[in-house]
Amino acid sequence: MTLNKRALALIFPIVLLGYALAGAMAYHGYRTALIALQKAQLNQEAFQLKSSYADYMSLESRLLYVVRNSNAFLLFLNETDEAYRTRALAVGIQDSLQSLDPRDDTFVSCSIFQSDGRLVFHSDNGQDPFTTLGERQRAFARAAIEDEALTRSALIVEDDGVPYLLMSSLVQERTARQPVLSRLEQAVLLQIAIRPVRFQTIRTALEAEYRTRIEMSPTPLVPNGEVSAVVRLAPDLYARVTPPKSYLHREFRKIAVVSAVTSLSLSFVSIGVLMGLVRRFVTGPVEELDRQVTGIMMQQRQDIDVPGSGEVGRLAANVRRLHWELDQALKRTQRLYETDPVTGIGNRIYFNEMLERFFHEERTTGQPVTMLFIDLDHFKTVNDEYGHRAGDALLEAVAQALIQALNETARACDAAPGIAARFAGDEFAVLVQAGPRTAYVQDLVRSILAMFQGGFSVDGTRYPVTASIGVASAPEDGATTATLLSCADQAMYHAKATGRNAAAFHGDLPALAWTEGSPRRR
């Protein structure tokens, strides 16, 4: 599992859980607030209902009052001649009624019933003059007379579905005053009816909004549940609005969905931001270090960048230090592996490696390679006569002299210095990147031969040793390393054969000497 996946696996559930908890708390808070709000709204709407009802009740009371106290009504009551009453007096009651007509399209009607329940007057301000007084309104009047109710009001619905707010009052037949209870048979009933349109509109709107019926009752009601409003419309009329549970549940569901979506969205955003930060400041540097170490292992880079301080910085610095130390150890081992312990210059392994490299360059750049095979003459006698310690010292001095001659000649000829190595025993080899006929090679050969002129001195002791040098080059003398070695070897033997302390160029050897093959295999 990568660091990023590990971080995600840690962050995701924690953040999600956190936001889920926050979302649940928010939902609970909103739910409580919603209930309070709904309650307040419901109470306010119920109050509007009450207020509207009260407006109509007030209008009815005023209408009742004005008609009852009008002279026309008194005249009407006192008149027994029905024809005259209708012809001359009824219009007065109509005028009284019209004096309080709200003129806002509110339907108002006024009816007068005799004590036997007979309707003797009816007038309204409606737009259809041919309607007759509804049966429910007549029944209400009859009941009021029968029950001897001095005043009574109610909200009724006619058979055609139209609601009316009724208010009736019993009055004394002659005086229009409140009747004496014992003489109620002499009373007439004055009844006002109003179509409570605004009340009905509010009621219908409320019922539509809450998808419930508003309960009406002549007896007191109590709120039914957490969200329920009760208003007293009239002394003996109560209304209760109780939205069904499904109404609030729908609202709750909305809040739940919003809370859940918000929590999830915020979770994902937070996780995204956190993961971005973790990647930028934690896993990113580790991945980068990993990439650099891999690069070093793949030999695509040399070093490691240290990304500042901190744990990852320190880790990078330690890895770099470790890498450097390993590199140094490797280089030391390599040097030991390629160095001749007696002379301190390169050994046969080193020589072979360089030969391969020079050959590679010869093939790619066309730069010729020339090899000088140097064999010390009479070295065995030094070992025998002066001891191995002296022999070793001689070999070391020859090696240093070869290096010096190589460097000086290269400097003098403005050429790249070649390399020198000890093959084994008294054999040395020099490799340069130049053709055998160049001044460089010629000078070098001369310079080496000159080192042995009259023997070779080491720390004041002159040893009777000389050098025989075989020179061969690629591609002139051989196209492979083996051929080159063989040719140089051959040339060296030829130089030895011609009297030692001389150099022989393979290219100059007589054909016979060349074809005799290599007398010695190494």
Partner: protein, 364 residues
Amino acid sequence: MRRAGNGEVPRAASKSGKCGPVCLLAGLLVLTCVPGARAVSLNLLIWEWDLAPSLAKAWTGTTGTDLNQIIFDNGERRDLLIANVEAPIDMAVIDSAHIDALGQRGLLVDQDRYPLPPESRSEARWRSMCGRYGVPYIWGATGIVYRTDRLATPPESWADLLRPAAALAGHIAMTDDEEEIMAAALGFLGRPMYSGDVEDLKRAFAVLKAQVPAVLTYSLPVTAQQEKSFHDRIFIGLGNSGDQRTLNMTSDGARPWRFVTPRDGAVLWVDCLAVLTRSRHPDLAERFVAFLARPDNAARNAIFLQQPPTNLRAAALLPRDMRADPQIYPPAGIPVEYRRPVPTDSLQLRRRIMSALVAIHDAQ
């Protein structure tokens, strides 16, 4: 029934709160209690501009008693005042269709007790219409008043008023008197104006309802004309012969108004003078009745009112052009219907029709 007057006072009062009868009554009470008023005065309930001022002056000059004219503009409200025993009224102008109900209720003096001299007696047809309780005062027809400077073609029938041309929409004044408005609609339908038949009334209501959008106001043209908001906006209306005179009096000097009797039929009415039994000066009131009934006074009054007198002797005193004026005497050849009481049991329905028309109009 003569809308000869504009009834501005009660009309305005009724507009501002429908206290017409109440205000009028209060006014009457004040009138009778004014300190320093002459010892004897007569209170006459009458349409506005329904009595020649010169006659009123002559009466006061002759008798030394004041004549107070109390103005009304709606027959039913007038009846209510007469019915109210508190209202200090000595005499009233009452149309023949209403007088009997009030007389039989004992509110009016029986005129048989005060016989007029033969020359002061009206035509028999008018006398029979006024009956025992009234003396014929003036007669006329119900028809259409219109402005000659606004209508290219003079109206000829009820259809021109009830099914008005588009150009007249918003320029029509109808009355708020159910009897007259129903007379027009029933006349248009070819039915008797006093019909109590519910089907007739339904059809009449339908005709009037269809006219509502074109109506400017449900008040008498003579009343509406004097309201600032309607002034100069009324081109045609339901009126009575004589209304053109009042309208022209209030038309800024021009005299564009004319009256026409619809060719569908002439609805003829007669106004009667009645003395109330509660009058404190019944004899003086009867003297006033006799004063107006004199042929010379009746002729003077008719010339002022531009309406025909009920007395043929008085009619003979009229100028020739007046006698030939079709605005005053309905042209011959038009069917004639005399106004009579509508059935009592249809009254409430008729009143509801009237109030429904106003309600529909207000709702617009």
